[in-house]
Amino acid sequence: MGQRYFNKEIETMSRDELSALQSEKLKKQVRHVYDNVPYYRDLMDKKGVKPEDIGGIEDLHKLPFISKSDLRETYPYGMLAVHLSDCVRIQSTSGTTGKRVIAYYTQHDIDLWEECCARAIVAAGGSKDDVVQVCYGYGLFTGGPGLNGGSHKVGSLTLPMSSGNTDRQIQFMMDLKATILCCTPSYAAYIGESLKEKGYKPEDNSLKAGIFGAEPWTEEMRRDIEKSLGIKAYDIYGLTETSGPGVAFECAEQKGMHINEDHFLAEIIDPDTGEVLPDGEKGELVFTSLDKEAFPLLRYRTRDICVLKRERCSCGRTHVRMSKPMGRSDDMLIIRGVNVFPSQIETVLINEGYAPNYRIEVDRVNNSDTLEVFVELSPENFTDTVGAITAMEKKLSASITGILGIHPVVHLVPPKSIARSEGKAVRVVDRRKLHD
């Protein structure tokens, strides 16, 4: 099978042509935002930048940044650049309590997003002859709708499974001979284990590829999944703020993810100074949408730390590649695909009458993320029966689950037993990184 592209003209366009295309689109996008988003217009005015100052991508650095806090401040409509009546859909981030971001889409925006996902599916070897099983969540989460739409564009038979109900996933996978699996890497690993438990061998299924994203995963985990399912596993990247999955995707070379640069302009900046860094340097990834109508974002700081590579890829695609995110420039954790801020857990503790002395430990056991929260007991809430303390742990765990949507194991520990460095408690221990 030769190298295939969903949109050969765009995906293999020469760098010069691509830059010219980006410059044209950027000028229009900046004008559109300036004219229709008062919040961003104010930011530009404060910085003394006018749309006419942006003659092309070389002027990108003149524009002000926006971050998640800007999106929160303008919730729910402040970043909308078209009339609501022109929008056809919303999606929303997995975040909760004040962290939620709503993204709006016109039909044009949906189409460009779905095309990005279609490119990812074709890069993973997909065609109209494939059966694509989508077990990302459907609904507000972008994972399910994005890959579902991409699969339609490719013309594959789409199985809109959504997440969970593993027995049913396996039944459809086997009975309908699914060839491409789309889900979070931890769920892919779980499906692999479940298949094994049911007595299936890796060669018993018809899968050839998997497109896995929405949470950090390691090369070690990639190998495990590839082995247990008998497939080639591809990474995909995206965020609701820019559209959803498909902002960047892996080709068969698996040396970084190609960013769909005709729609999203990428920069790497120093997270402390905001200075643009040269290619190959590690820093915070910043995206500028180039042709979105409803929810265009200029210089949006993703908080993901990664590296950009511009050397030409042997797959023939000319679009820049980004490394897997190596971490976050803020304290956000992604656990089982859910964005978790330590401050959310802190809020629960305070509401439940505990001192905010806690430690969050995240690990990956059997390819699934685990979340443990250690909380200091105080003399006021210490009772002398095991049952009462166990009940307190359960109650706290349920409250945290209610906020985060994922279930932690809570351990109550003696006062002052949580390690403090320089007087400040060490809040997060993420052991997942140590395995890489």
Partner: protein
Amino acid sequence: MAIKQLSVFVENKRGGLVAITDLLAGHGIDMSALSIADTQDFGILRLIVNDTEKAKDALTANGILVKVTEVVGIEIPDKPGELSRALSVLDAEGINVEYLYAFISASGTGAYVALRVEDNVAAESALTSAGFRTVTEKDVRGNKG
């Protein structure tokens, strides 16, 4: 007359218990009874000592979580079925026992049982009416206190 008991929160890790017993020994605390309830993560050590306040202060000063609770102490005659009879009395009165532990009297002549219940007065009165002798802190400490 309820007996004062110390409840100490102990993390289930190596050296957790000895740190507490060492500290009490260093302050000349004499233990009359000891019981521990544990889970995978933590334990609760329950102690009856000769000087509850002193022990509590010493533990608290060392950052150890401790609480003084009152338990009912009774003497159990040394013959089969007596503990069962005591528990039946409480059960008949609708008194729920959260936990209990047995220990030897200071004189060495009989067995004592410490009971943690919701209502100490009701429990003592029910047990006394059924012929059980309640135990005081003085009994527990013997002539050492």
